[in-house]
Point group: C2
Chain length 326, copies 2
Amino acid sequence: MSEQQGIKPYVIGLDLGGTNSVFGIVDSRGDIKTQTAIKTGGYTCAEDFVKASVEALLPIIDQVGGIEKIKAMGIGAPNGNFYRGTIEFAPNLPWAHDGIVPLAQMFSDALGIPVGLTNDANAAALGEMVYGVARGMKNFIVITLGTGVGSGVVVNGQLLYGHDGFAGELGHVTMVRGAQGRICGCGRTGCLEAYCSATGVARTAREMLEKTERPSLLRELDAEKITSLDVSIAAGKGDELAKEIFDFTGTMLGEACADFAAFSSPEAFIFFGGLVKAGKLIMDPIKVAYDNHVMNIFKGKAQFLVSGLDGASAAVLGASAIGWEI
Amino acid sequence: MSEQQGIKPYVIGLDLGGTNSVFGIVDSRGDIKTQTAIKTGGYTCAEDFVKASVEALLPIIDQVGGIEKIKAMGIGAPNGNFYRGTIEFAPNLPWAHDGIVPLAQMFSDALGIPVGLTNDANAAALGEMVYGVARGMKNFIVITLGTGVGSGVVVNGQLLYGHDGFAGELGHVTMVRGAQGRICGCGRTGCLEAYCSATGVARTAREMLEKTERPSLLRELDAEKITSLDVSIAAGKGDELAKEIFDFTGTMLGEACADFAAFSSPEAFIFFGGLVKAGKLIMDPIKVAYDNHVMNIFKGKAQFLVSGLDGASAAVLGASAIGWEI
């Protein structure tokens, strides 16, 4: 058995982003042995994208000893559906924006290995379970704080996909009900994502600067161009208004996590993405708000962790983790 | 094999309520062959409760051919923990209100068969899966609308217990944030249960009667004694205010279900309990609010069903279902 396992020591991970598609060949400890990338756009159809991908992959597959050393491939992609191995109506992908692309099957046909596919946040959760801070955990939630708010929910050691493959959209629970809720990118109002994504934080900054006359380093910037990174830098310099923006954001995340506990009672919430670099500025208010709002039976039970995966390679690692699970 | 299966055609179900403990012996089709009951209170310790239970059980076990015909026993109990088989700090049980009672093990020792235990809402979900409208479903949510609001969440064909056994407390997600949220029995504010339980509906009725001068059949009653059944009867007679109370309740439930879809994307929401007897008065606003609030990707996918189990025996059937699953 050990010899057989030794024959296929690697998986391929594909982080399929709006701009770049990054491929890595990864071992079971999460070391990326070699990687390559192509532009995601610039193809009119999925067939051409797969063809270009395979051309880029063949040299790095040779580097690790050929396709017979590779157990499987995993793809993390926007609007990815695990059950069907498809990308469905992905607005930012020119060759998948108006239809259903069976990308897993196409790569499997081209490479002759099993291929699994899921969305980026689910891939991040698998990455934490296989290589990261969730090793050994069976019930946890990964929340990705980036341009949007994504999530991957693991219960009983399995990703929660729901009956249609689209479960775990925790960025779109409603946090502010009624007319005063912010418009969200999903077309609805009041979603967690509209407040706690990077763009949500920038919007909170603009609102706070408009509503008050309070001094802030952020006033030196063009309000329309403020980013969450600007807020993070200002808060790091002790700017009170910037700190309040993180308090507001973390408090809402903590209240949301209290509701999530009532659903799946995870042993940990794991945060991932650009906003997490703000460290205690965001993590402390999350924990305080959680403790203030969670049911008594859950109090003090869940850990609040930051992703253990290196930011630059986390998405490829997450995608590759699918390869070990299928 | 078929002979061996034939040897143990029954399970025992125990619906352990605050007042009565009802035992039924059930076959695989959900027919209750025989049943008995004892008072739940009146015992100073759990040992005495189990002893009295076994005394009541022995004659009905004999009726079906003896203990060797019984595969297992399931218990549905308030504050029941499936992982540990315990009842923990159940406020309404005199012999379990200030500690942890290993009731499953105690019954198993006394009867010599496997015994599983979970909370009442989880038992209801198992009952629907084994005998009811959720047969064949792998992802669904049962919401019980009674004195409180309970829930049992099934994902990938398994009950969602979370890392500590207490997952699925959907009655305690926060629907009204901040100071204006109603105080809930759990000690927090704004919970779904504070609005959509039977007591929540009665409270909505009192609030609406106080806030307006509008005519209503409900004004003929003592406001402090109005029940959800009174509201249901008035609405059935065409009372506009009573209908609005159900609209308000169903709308909040539908909005909550839209958030639940973002979590586990179930194929059905199944409603159970006294309030459900109001039929379309409550189910129609649930469906309308769900369609108005759910993410586009989930729209039109989930069914909204009413429990298929007979109210009087549903709790015993749900408890007995645990016996088939362990």
